[in-house]
């Protein structure tokens, strides 16, 4: 029982990072209609930059992480300007394929610079705490707290700030939004930046628990796809719920069937949902 509880807790931690990755993915899809394949690489780069800053400049984990998030936001701005924005209106295929190209470029660039070997990003919050038999670490609690905070903040931003209004207006009707003076192209850049920042944040939070390696982005993006499909594409709360569900499902499967089964459960969920209920578990069924 304790083991299962421990595993469930780990599942929630894992799910929270999935949710964080997926929320950005979902945000971009909801606003731009683009499924960003390079989103996983932004997550990976966030972690690598933090590692680099802490090692090369002796920055603390927290400061390194904050600067890394900022840098990834700027990188996201640039990537959107260069690779996504110019071809957004061409056809559904082009932005997806060009984000795939970005993903190849970024993953191999990092491998070129840092090598293929796994790297460690230590965190000062790795002290274990025991609560009633459950072994937690501050880092895991930090992930959950940050996850909740970020999702609440994101919802608040979208519901009640000016930027949020612009984002919502653009996602509903680009033409109408541009008629009332909203620059949709700039909105897309903001959305990409916010999403990139979220990806980087989740990478930085999760990195101390796992090793860093250049292909971690493509692993993450697949999880992100599964989660957004679970929660319904374009829904941010759905992304968090989907993340928690996937995280728990993976951990439970690993406990009962062995760790080899952990990843495949997500793929099967993805295939099944897209074939039988493409709007996601929580999406509205369309006519």
């Amino acid at each position: 029982m304790d083991l299962l509880l421990q595993q469930l807790f780990n599942g929630v931690v894992l799910g929270m990072t999935y949710g964080l990755v997926a929320s950005g993915l979902s945000l971009i899809f909801g606003i731009m209609g683009v499924l960003n394949f390079a989103h996983g690489e932004l997550y990976m780069i966030g972690a690598y930059i933090t590692m680099f800053l802490t090692k090369a400049y002796g920055l603390s984990y927290v400061w390194g992480g904050l600067i890394a998030v900022g840098l990834v936001v700027i990188i996201s701005f640039v990537l959107e300007r260069v690779a996504i924005g110019p071809i957004l209106n061409r056809d559904y295929m082009s932005p997806f394929l060009s984000s795939f190209a970005l993903s190849i470029i970024l993953a191999n660039l990092i491998q070129y610079v840092f090598g293929a070997n796994p790297k460690r990003l230590p965190s000062p919050f790795e002290i274990p705490i025991e609560v009633k038999g459950l072994i937690l670490t501050q880092q895991k609690i930090l992930i959950i707290v940050c996850g909740i905070a970020v999702i609440l903040a994101l919802n608040l931003v979208i519901k009640s700030t000016k930027i949020g209004k612009i984002l919502r207006a653009t996602s509903q009707n680009v033409t109408a939004a541009s008629l009332v003076g909203i620059n949709s192209s700039r909105t897309y850049m903001y959305a990409f930046g916010i999403a990139g920042g979220l990806a980087a944040l989740s990478g930085i939070l999760l990195a101390p628990l796992i090793n860093l390696y250049p292909t971690m982005g493509s692993t993450a993006i697949i999880k992100g796809f599964i989660v957004v499909v679970l929660g319904g594409l374009g829904s941010i709360s759905g992304a968090v719920i989907g993340g928690l569900l996937l995280g728990s499902a993976e951990v439970i499967t690993a406990t009962f069937f062995g760790s080899g089964w952990k990843d495949v459960v997500g793929y099967i969920i993805l295939i099944a949902i897209l074939i039988w209920k493409p709007t996601g578990l929580f999406g509205k069924t369309s006519d």
């Binding site: 997806f96 190849i104 470029i105 793929y267 295939i271």
Partner: protein, 330 residues
């Protein structure tokens, strides 16, 4: 046989002199890999370039072809040719099932995602089904193809002899595909790419023809996978990875989708050119990622159609029926 056919036949035959000219096994190796990936890219081109289906799961068929024919020859001791035939058959059936499940409901990026997820399920199955597939370690010492003449067996072991086989397959696949895309079937594929509603309105059962495209494409991918496995003689679950998904995508898009020629150009850029430039593998992928990105943004129809435009400038094509013999019946 008239004169043009004779010229065509002779020029195809002359391709078989390539292995005789190239004696350096290193160049032979480069050319073999080139030919195998031309076939693999051609198979994706039928789907992506002609039918407009974006597949991120083509490695499923490539890997399935490689694994199935390796298992047939190693574990069941069948001849390579029978093994290849069975591998192709299995892949065709799998592609048909996948198509039946997904193509009716899923369009665009949704199909792309699901096809990739299916590839990962294959990877999982290959790792888990250890008794047959050797699990994560993969299958080693896959035998080269052999031809059993009455007195002796000829094994296609050397680069030179293997090059014969892959060239034969490149010709076979290219010719078949060329004729398919220039038939009513090919026009149905193009119609689906250009607009499904219009295609349906002129009587094309889009779902059925998408399935046909997927199965033909999977068959060709399985052939290339099998040739690959028996050439490098060792395969592992990595054959289902994103790397093998992205290779044909890069080749077809950079080379030019929907042209067949694009696969040859793209594969030459990817497999032949870097051999002379000597990149580190990561740097090569960065450069090809950039090339892919630039192709998508600035040259969405790829290099082959740029060449086509140049050709059209110099040799204006005057419609398919030039002779005024055709008269209006009514």
């Amino acid at each position: 046989m008239n004169k043009t056919n004779l010229i065509k036949a002779l020029s195809f035959l002359s391709l078989f002199s390539i292995p005789l000219i190239i004696s350096n096994p290193y160049y032979g190796d480069v050319l073999i890999i080139y030919c195998i990936f031309v076939i693999y890219a051609l198979s994706l081109d039928l789907l992506l370039g002609y039918t407009g289906i974006i597949s991120f799961g083509h490695a499923s068929f490539f890997g399935l072809g490689a694994y199935a024919s390796a298992i047939m020859t190693l574990k069941l001791h069948l001849s390579y040719w029978l093994g290849l035939l069975i591998a192709v058959g299995i892949t065709a059936v799998v592609a048909f099932l996948i198509g039946s499940l997904t193509l009716r409901k899923l369009k665009g990026i949704y199909f792309a995602i699901v096809s990739f997820a299916i590839t990962q399920v294959f990877r999982f199955l290959v790792v888990e089904w250890e008794t047959v597939t050797n699990g994560a370690a993969g299958i080693a010492s896959i035998p080269p193809p052999e031809i059993n003449l009455i007195f002796e067996k000829i094994a296609f072991k050397s680069e030179q002899s293997y090059l014969f086989i892959v060239i034969a397959f490149v010709i076979l696949v290219t010719l078949s595909l060329y004729r398919v895309v220039n038939s009513g079937l090919g026009r149905a594929f193009l119609a689906i790419r250009e607009g499904e509603d219009l295609a349906r309105s002129i009587g094309i059962d889009t779902c059925k023809y998408k399935k046909i495209a997927l199965v033909i494409s999977a068959i060709i991918a399985a052939i290339s996978g099998s040739l690959y496995g028996h050439y490098i003689s060792a395969i592992g679950p990595r054959i289902f990875s994103l790397h093998y998904v992205s290779l044909p995508l890069i080749i077809v898009i950079v080379g030019g989708k929907g042209t067949l020629l694009g696969a040859f150009i793209g594969a030459a850029l990817f497999f032949v050119l870097p051999e002379f430039l000597g990149f580190k593998p990561e740097m090569k992928m960065v450069i090809f990622g950039l090339l892919l990105l630039m192709s998508i943004i600035y040259m969405p129809d790829g290099i082959a159609s740029k060449l086509g435009q140049i050709r059209d400038k110099f040799f204006v094509k005057n419609g398919e029926i030039k002779n005024g013999k055709v008269t209006v019946r009514n």
